[in-house]
């Protein structure tokens, strides 16, 4: 994994956005995300993190500036991007298996019958992902039969099933208990390493950001205030959390978030 910063994979230039009738939420953000790297975006509630993520996803269109993914302008939700929401957002009426395959179903990659080479590839991928997350036994269950942590895993598997080039995540672990959250962080890192995914991960939890990221960006009232490289060794293990460097980085970012705070 060697991030090439000179040619950004996901490129946001001078991006601004205002919801009608409100002060601007995102103001002139420049952000270059390297291919294959894990980027975290931290900031206080209401600082525009989620809006910036939706702009990167193509769910919102910037008032000025632009977003490019692998050299192509993003003007609508891209099939190259996978999105994980704050809550798992699974469909109650589909089995776990069908929930994971939903992106392929909607994009017409899996026909109703179990045939076709592309369909077979997607199904193999879904099976691999469920297996990697320890959910193979739950494939034919329904979402209400799963715990919150398991539902979050299904949401991640769904986002990854079409091999997206970039994974956009909006505080996906915020509602989970601390231990489940740490388990999922490890699983996510392993998955991203095996797929060489580029990730844009929004969180308000500084330790989560430092543990996961190659680079952490700080946002405050719609403006990007800091871009910090995290030079902790990979693969990251639970022990990293208790190292001196880890805590120094957390303290540094915390201080960066306090600068200019009311």
């Amino acid at each position: 994994m060697t991030p090439a910063l000179d040619s950004p994979f996901l490129n946001l230039q001078g991006v601004s956005y205002t919801y009608p009738g409100w002060p601007p939420v995102v103001q002139g953000v420049d952000w270059r995300l390297a291919r294959g790297a894990f980027h975290c975006l931290v900031g206080r509630s209401g600082c525009g993190k989620t809006t910036l993520l939706k702009l990167a996803a193509g769910l919102l269109q910037p008032d000025s500036g632009g977003v490019w993914l692998d050299g192509q302008a993003v003007t609508q939700p891209s099939p190259m991007a996978g999105f994980v929401f704050q809550s798992p957002t699974l469909l109650d009426w589909l089995t776990i298996w069908d929930n994971v395959l939903l992106p392929a179903q909607l994009r017409g990659k899996v026909s109703g019958k179990l045939s076709g080479l592309v369909g077979q590839k997607v199904r193999d991928k879904a099976a691999t992902l469920l297996d990697a997350m320890g959910l193979s036994a739950y494939a034919q269950q329904y979402p209400y039969q799963l715990s919150g942590g398991q539902q979050s895993r299904v949401a991640i598997a769904r986002a990854l099933v079409l091999d997206p080039a970039v994974l956009l995540m909006d505080e996906p672990f915020a509602a989970l208990d601390a231990i489940t959250r740490e388990e999922l962080q490890m699983e996510l890192l392993n998955l991203c390493r095996s797929q060489n995914s580029t990730v844009m991960f929004v969180t308000h939890d500084i330790t989560e950001a430092v543990f996961l990221a190659d680079r952490v960006v700080v946002m405050d009232r719609g403006v990007m205030t800091r871009d910090v490289a995290i030079d902790l060794p990979r693969p990251r293990t639970g022990a990293v959390r208790y190292s001196v460097e880890f805590n120094q980085l957390c303290a540094h970012l915390r201080a960066a978030m306090d600068v200019g705070a009311p």
């Binding site: 996803a57 999105f83 209400y144």
Partner: protein, 258 residues
């Protein structure tokens, strides 16, 4: 109190028996005319006679037929109307005033008009039953489609879903609990529609039979028919509940499903 908590069902049945005995006792003791209030024993006898002679069966079949046809027709059209109004803001703005106005019209008052239009018999009753079932379905489908979770809609946009994919794979399944609540309301109202429709527009069916027993002063049989109508309502309602439970078995309960 303890007895009630331990055997609530037994206590309920015992209470029914006590009430029926009281009714029987009062009628015998006060020497009521069976024309005004027949004793339960007389009602049971009339019911039994009607059932074994086969006199009641065609009437029950007629009412059941109207109920099923009216429910099917009204619910399907109400659902389709709800989808059209829920999906298109323009049609909604255009048609909502008419929908609200026709909601307020007492629909049973239209039975005489329907007899003029459709003649005497099954059709006017089916039409009035369908009309009564139409609105709860329209209302619930439309409201459900407008209130689909915003995050789920974003998920479908993110996955590049077309409008019809979003409608059939997200919006309609998501508002199924509301649609079923509408069907439950429709089932109860449909029976009222069928029976009252028969009062005026038919010579066959349990509603028509009530009018006939009134004419022949056969109050015990009238009570027997009332009992059958109630029974029919209960059976239909519970069948609906069972179907609803099955259809929504994987949905997260939000406390509104019994």
């Amino acid at each position: 109190m303890k007895l009630l908590q331990q055997f609530p069902k037994t206590v309920a049945w015992v209470m029914l028996l006590v009430l029926l005995s009281l009714w029987e006792g009062c009628v015998q003791w006060l020497d009521f005319s069976p024309l005004v209030l027949p004793a339960p024993s007389l009602v049971v006898a009339a019911l039994w006679r009607g059932l074994i002679t086969g006199y009641l069966w065609p009437h029950m079949a007629q009412t059941a037929l109207e109920l099923v046809l009216g429910l099917g027709l009204g619910c399907s059209l109400g659902f389709l109307g709800g989808v059209v109004l829920g999906e298109s803001a323009l049609t909604r703005r255009l048609l909502m005033p008419y929908v609200v106005t026709s909601q307020v019209v007492p629909k049973l008052a239209l039975v005489p008009l329907f007899i003029v239009w459709f003649g005497f018999g099954t059709t006017p009753t089916v039409v009035i039953t369908a009309l009564i079932c139409f609105f709860p379905l329209l209302e619930n489908t439309m409201t459900g489609l407008e209130h689909v979770d915003a995050q789920r809609l974003e998920l479908f946009r993110m996955l590049g879903a077309s409008r019809s994919q979003t409608l059939w794979r997200l919006k309609i399944p998501a508002c199924l609990p509301g649609i079923w609540a509408g069907i439950r309301v429709a089932v109860v109202l449909a029976l009222v529609g069928a029976v009252v429709g028969e009062f005026v527009g038919s010579s066959k069916g349990l509603g028509a039979l009530i009018i006939a027993t009134q004419g022949s002063m056969d109050t015990p049989l009238m009570f027997a028919v009332l009992f059958l109508i109630t029974l029919m309502g209960l059976v239909t309602y519970h069948i609906t509940l069972a179907l609803e439970r099955y259809a929504l078995r994987t949905y997260v309960r939000k406390g509104n499903v019994e």
